[in-house]
Structure formats: structure tokens, C-alpha cells
Symmetry: C2
Subunit: 453 residues, 2 copies
Amino acid sequence: METIETDVAVIGAGLAGLSAARALEAEGVDVSVIEARDRVGGRTVNEPIGVGKVLDLGGQWVGPGQDRILELIPELGLETYSTFGEGLNLIERKGKVSKYSGTIPKVNPVALAEVGLALKRIERLAAKVDPERPWESELAHFDRMTFDTWMRRHVRTAVARDLLRLAIEAVWAAEPEDISMLHMLFYVRSAGSLDLLLDTEGGAQDSRVLGGTQLISKRLAEGLARPVCLESPVRRILWSGDRVMVLADGLRVAADEVVVTLPPVLAGRISYEPALPAIRDGLTQRMIQGSVIKTMSIYPTPFWREQGFSGQSTSADGPVSVTFDNSPPDGSPGVLLAFFEGKAARDAGELPGSVRQQLVADCLTRLFGEEAANPDRYLEKVWADDEWARGCYGGYFPPGAWTSHGRALRESIGPIHWAGAETASEWAGYMEGAIQSGRRAAAEILAPGGAPV
Amino acid sequence: METIETDVAVIGAGLAGLSAARALEAEGVDVSVIEARDRVGGRTVNEPIGVGKVLDLGGQWVGPGQDRILELIPELGLETYSTFGEGLNLIERKGKVSKYSGTIPKVNPVALAEVGLALKRIERLAAKVDPERPWESELAHFDRMTFDTWMRRHVRTAVARDLLRLAIEAVWAAEPEDISMLHMLFYVRSAGSLDLLLDTEGGAQDSRVLGGTQLISKRLAEGLARPVCLESPVRRILWSGDRVMVLADGLRVAADEVVVTLPPVLAGRISYEPALPAIRDGLTQRMIQGSVIKTMSIYPTPFWREQGFSGQSTSADGPVSVTFDNSPPDGSPGVLLAFFEGKAARDAGELPGSVRQQLVADCLTRLFGEEAANPDRYLEKVWADDEWARGCYGGYFPPGAWTSHGRALRESIGPIHWAGAETASEWAGYMEGAIQSGRRAAAEILAPGGAPV
């Protein structure tokens, strides 16, 4: 068994861990990054599709307001390009497919008015939540109910509820009944607004990274003084006031401090000796990873474009709830991205891959016509099956968790610091949030008690 | 490292694991029980207080309807005795302590009527839930809301809500906002009725076990062919279709099948190779262990009895929410049991033990007078701090979990079977439920596909 001596051990070579390592190295700190997978990137992963092109099987979008990642990308010699969005969008409900342009689907005006009012209410409430300490907000009582409860109180038409459900599924990969209303408000606040979360152009789905988002992590890792220790799942952390010993498969790392970047539920599966305080353990019992299956169907050309469609659609009928044109920037090959989210992802996750593929083909055919029925190639990633993610896009809290255990999400314990997209207070759950969290953890170590970065 | 070859490995030497082992051995199956702690009994544990007397720091009560444990106790040569309940009970709210007899506290009649109506509604709803498959019930939509949401809809007076909150805390060691309404209904149904759960005489708090409930596990363990392997926390389970290798600290057990009796969150912290299906992993992300601190204050005599008090009280002011006379059957010494539950337990769990002790003394003094201020001895067990329990009394589901992942609570996976009080369909969360679950898991192994016991 190899033993490494270092200043800081970082567990997880995703954007959070690599950002923490980079920030620490910049200040002359010796860092070792330990990763369970055989690759860096965490919940970002490139899938090569030939001739130097790749598709993202994980997180893929960046957008305005995500200042850290938008600055980092060119700094690493990488480029972004706009998500394809020209043409008409589609919405499917009760077997009927309708076209629309812009972000507002054509449904009945009462429902649209209701959705508009609900979104405005949410924005107004979210503005009052302190994303650093949502449990102290005057709105903490929203932690007593699910989003579903709130929605049923404020939204009466079935169409409007369907649209809100689709929004919840699209952002949290969960159902309205899964999520604390306070968590919803926190998350919206951490990104700035719900519009930003939902929008493509000008929103969180605005742009993509040329060569795939995993390149960001690869470049970050290449820039580190020490190579990342891959295929080294961490099993135990022995710790005292000022020293840690991290035990991974085939590796020990002795350090002064450790940054754990795993989603809380996975961080809770590491054995800590001595055992962690109850509030931290309880936190790891409460945060749930979302359910999403990302699929991509590859065609010779993006045929939908010729028919005037953007490739963007949303379906209340499912099981695919959202699609995008995910073709490479030159439009070749044509790629339709289709998500199973929340309940649909859980259900589809139980099916054989071939059945799932057929479900996707059926959905895409209903939306984009017969040409969608037989893709040249089908790719998918069932994130709940990934042992080192156990769900995506990120974690969410059910009711009662923020107010009882929220404090333990970021609060360090002795030499143990917590990072990861779930712990971000800006763009929680996003790549931007992962970077923010990693830099914040590094700052804790560099200037204990100092202000967050 | 010792290696054991056996037919069935059982993880956890609490009532579930030992009941499974006993049922299997009775049919000639070779069993090895593996336990993380240095003792058997799980969430039951005896604390000797001298002259052969003991107090229970964990589960302690049995009552009518719990047929398996009531039959098992005499079978093991043990006896029960009635919980002390003679005299007046007390209720404290807004600084005022009132006496009452029976189970109905003296509060204003409107509030009492509201509570009565709410309890009746709960009983009526619970009767419609199939405890084997609550997610298939016609009431599955109650999984969309917290109990708090339901309560606020049906109960208007603050007094009535306080009383219902106390009931939730007493049964689930959680707050109304933590629990799915469907989980509440499932749990009530699994015990038979809410009255049974709440009552002392004739209910779930009816009787105690002479010598302490841990004796049940000790006797069960003594009756097994192989000694329980203590101090052997299980870290990994390697499995295939028909074989398992259980890796514990200092021990390997090779077997044909394994019964995992840990609460789901702790079962989720074992590393399974191959990794378990997403639905099972997701289940372990969703069940939360309750928060309770059990304290006992020991006095020379049960002085409250002489003043006409039963020792039973409930306080809406807290932080102690419930007390009982927990003296040994001969009334010597006098023991007042006081629980911190739910939020109060989480808050008090963060305090130094001495501060907590003072909080208990203050509460008991308000209720039972100055004589309660200075006990001879104070005992406590902070269950959330216990690494192998991480909460008590048992696990509960927040909204959205039963309907999305409930099926994975009991469904075996290859050679891996699930037991433990959390998996019971009768008296879920109770010692009776633990026994039921262990026997059910044994039956699965003995007669695959057969009817549950």
C-alpha cells in the first residue's frame, strides 16, 4: 500500500476538488487529490463519437451569471459556443404536440397566467432567502411543506401544474412532492432567479464547451503539481484536531487537512474515526440525489432543423420530459438529447437498456416525426446506477432538513472541510457551484475564519 | 483474518438478526451472526444500577397486539411487569402545569374536540393503507405532503396542534414537518391503531421486561449454535447470484445468503460489489433515523408517587417532551425517565452533557417539584451519537419516498435479504417489528417465494 504525505488531501477529482486543489497550490500548499473513478471530472464526462467530436454525458451547460466558470474556461484555453435554439419549440400534452417560439409554450391563457403568477411569487419569495443560511430566513416555515403542497395551494389548473412539474423535473430531477419548498427557494436564490435556471438563451442552458465539459477538469488536473490518484475509493478517514489519515483502496494519504467533495449521501458512507457529530451525520441522512437518465440519439443530420424546429421540446406525457438539439457546433452529426427525469427516470432505470432506447425513439418520433425513429446510434447514462454519483443532477432536501441540519452542510469539523456542488451558495448544484464550493473550502484552509471567496 | 464458512450470514445482532438466526437454525441452517458493537441487542441495551437492577437505555416497552414478543419473552424464561401508571398525569403548556387522569389531558374543550376528530380521521385513513404495500394504496397521494401540512389543514387551534406535535414526537422522534403523511398512516396501520401507539396501559407502553429488554437478545444469542461475532463492523459485501462474501473488520464470512438487519441508511453505507440497483440505493438515501435522547434521573425513592403523581407527563414547553416513572418493579430506587425528542433532541444533542443534565433537572422540577432538582444519579443515551444506530427510535420516510422507492425496503436482491424494525409490516419500528422482520427474512430463505410469516 502506497503512502503519501501531503498538506491537504482532497477527495474527489470533479470540479469542486480540482478547484480546491488549484486554489491551494496557488498559495504554495502541497495537495493530493484522491478519486474513486478511473478518470477526473465527476459528474462531467466526455463521450467521444469519432472524428475528434465528443458529447457530454454529464453536466454540459454554462450561462450568464456563472462568472467563475466563464472566466475559467478561456483561462484553460477552452471555448464555449451557443446551444442551438433556432426555430420552433414543441410542447406535448395529452397526446397533442404544439409548436411555439420563445420560452412560453402555447397552452390555454388561464394556465399561462397561473404559471406566470406562480413563477413571480417564487421569485419574490426566493429573493428573501439568504443562500448562505436559508434556515435563518423569515421564510424558514416553507421547510414544513413540499413544493407540491405549495403548488396545489396556489395553482388550480391541471395544465399549469403540469408545466410547474416539468420545471421542477427539469431543474431538480425530482418530483414536486420530493422537495422542500424552502429548498426550492434556496436553490432559485443561489442561481439568482428561476428564469435563469429555466432559460436556454441567456439562462443556465445558454452555452456549451467545445470539446466537452470534462476538458475543464482534465486541464485543471494537468495543471496540478501532483497527479490525481485515480481508482482509489476512500473508505475511511481517521482524524484528530489537526491531522488526518485518508484510507483509500490501495492508498493512504496522511495530511493536515482534508476536503471532502462528495455529495453528502456519499460522504456519509465514508467511515470516520472518531465518528462525526450527529448533526453532520443527520445531514448526510437527509440529502437525496436527483434521478436523471441522459440519452442521446445520433442521426446523420439534424433533420429537425430543416423542418424549422429547434430540437427543444418538453412533454407532459413523458417518459421523456425534455429534449434539446445537442449536435456538435458544425451540426454534424445530428444529435437529439432526451432526458428522463424524476419519476420517469426511476421507472425507466428499472428497464433493460433496449426497452429504454425504444421509449426514447417513440417519444422523439411523436415530437419530430418518423425520421427520429431509427437513430444511427444511441448513448445513455443512468446516473443513479453510477456508484460514485448515485444520482444527478445534484442533491436536494426534503422538508424539515434545511431547518434542522442545514448548518452542517458546509461547517467544517476539525481538519475536515466540505465542498461539492451541493454545498455551494451560488449556483448550488451547477458546475459553477462546484467551483465556488472548492474555492470556498480552499479559503477556509488558507485563512481560517476568513471571509468566503 | 479469520474466515468463516456458513450457510447464512446475518449482519446485526439485534432482535431482527437474532430472530432470523434462530428461525434459520430451527430448520437446520448453519448461521453466523456478525455484529459491529461489543454486545448484542442493537437498540436495546441494559444499564446496571447495582443490586442486580437494570434500566433500559434503549427500547423498553411491550404491549398488547405484539404477539411475537409477548410469546417469546416467557419462552426465554423472562417476565414482564406493568409500567407504573397510578395517580395523576401532568401536562405543561405555556408555563402552566395541569393535572389530569387517564389519557386525555385537561386542555380547552375545543382543542380536545379537534384532537379527537383528527385522531379519528387518522385512524380511518390508516385503516385503508396496506402495510405491506403502502405505495399501492388508494391513499398514496398522502405521500405528497408532510404531516404538518395535513395537520394545518385539519386542525386550527394552537393547543390541538401542540398536542398532535407531541404525539408525533413521542412516536417518531421527529417533527410534523419531517414525516410523509403516508408514512404516518402506514406506521399507524402497521401497529393497528394510533391509540395503541400512544397509550400506556393497554398500549405500546403497557409493560416492561424484568431484567431489561436486552436480556431477550442475550438469551436468543445464547441459544444459537455459533457465538455471535462481536466488534466486527461489516464494510463490504461481495455477491453474485448465489454466493456472498461478507468482509468485516478482522473477519470474512463466506455464505450462500446474507440477511442485512441494519437501518436502511446504515445498510447503505456498506459497500456492495457489484453495486446495488438504483432503487435500493435510493431507498437508503431516503429513510431518516429519528432523534431521541433517553435520560433517567435516579432518586432514593419515587417521591412523586406519594404526592399522587404517576410520573407520566408531557410538556409542550420542552425541551423534555415526555416523562415516565421508570423505577424498578419494587419502586426502589425512584427513576424518572425523560425524553428529548425530535428538534429538542437535535438541539440538546449539541450541548455538553452537564448542560443537558441541568435542562432535564429543570424540567423535572417544574413538573414534580423541588425534590426532582437533585437526582442521585443521571444516565443518558444520545442515540444519534451512536455510530451503529445514528438515531432512534427508528427510521421514517419524508414525502415522496414510499411511492417512489418503498418497494425496495424489503425486496431481496440476489442472495441479499433485508430485515430490521424499519422493514416490518407489523409494528414497524418496534421490537415486535424487528422480530417479525427477522422471521420474514428467514422465511424468504427457507421457502423462496413462499408466504411471509
